[in-house]
């Protein structure tokens, strides 16, 4: 495994809107979260959707976001969270993005 991030790392999701089969939901793009786990390495579905092999495999992480970060007007308690599975090329270390 050559995973770039480890559990506990603070990351920011790329704020990008490429066309095609993309698994990163809009509502987390540009948002800050914390890696909760390395799930596994998988062939890239963004490539496989178009008949390519998606290799080399890409690390997929569980990333935990505070609801207050995702939705500035979130009505619930501070502690509420959402966890989303995100591929490594969608994540950058927080400091790279001015965070």
């Amino acid at each position: 495994m050559s995973a770039r991030f480890a559990a506990g790392d603070r990351v920011r999701v790329r704020k990008a809107y490429p066309p095609g089969h993309v698994r990163t939901p809009y509502y987390v793009r540009g948002k800050e979260g914390v890696v909760s786990r390395l799930i596994a390495e998988h062939p890239n579905p963004e490539e496989r959707a178009y008949g390519r092999d998606g290799l080399p495999p890409i690390a997929v992480y569980g990333v935990l976001f505070r609801q207050n970060e995702l939705w500035p007007d979130y009505q619930g308690p501070e502690g509420d969270t959402t966890e989303v599975d995100i591929q490594e090329h969608w994540l950058g270390p927080l400091k790279d993005d001015g965070g």
Binding site: R23, T24, P25, Y27, I39, A40, H42, P45, V60, L64, Q67, L70, W71, Q75, G76, P77, G79, D80, T81, T82, E83, V84, D85, I86, Q87
Partner: protein, 212 residues
Amino acid sequence: MSETHSHDDWPYPHPKQPDIEDGPLTDYMAMTEAVAELLIDKEVFSADDMRRTLEDIDSKSPAEGARMVARAWLDPDFKARMLEDVNAAAEEMSIDAGTIPILAVENTKDVHNVIVCTLCSCYPRYLLGLPPDWYKSRAYRSRLVREPRAVLAEFGTEIPDAVEVRVHDSTAELRYMILPMRPKGTGDMDEDALAGLVTRDCMIGVTVIDRD
């Protein structure tokens, strides 16, 4: 369907119930039919293979997941293995959890978990059976991440503010299931009786098990 008709011996007309073919045939439906026919014509698999596979998928039910939850409540070592690898733990019980990895997330007194797939409708079908229609609805998929407590309240589930509500959006390579908390007052129950308490909805996380 606004068409109405009446029966000879019954004077009151009632609306015609639409047949399954009365909905629009979408491009994807036409493509699915065409690809299936081609694969059968080319003898990649037979019509009976396809029927058998669909029957097998349809036969899955939340009872499989419930058995695993009950075992986890009774056997801490099994629970640890299940939290590590649901598919392997299922195999120990001769349950086929399929090839897609499933992750069990445990509810505790501090965290209440609930699952959704905002992009489509990913669901741990091998252990929970076919998803309910509301799980696939746009309302559930868009609102659960936006206002989870309001959605839970519509299911009759009130989570105290001191408990973190954690939504799991299964967007990628994992399917999720919830390992609910064992209710109080069940100390004398055996595995079968405990499994009977575990419902589909509590393994999705839209409710908790309440024995009052």
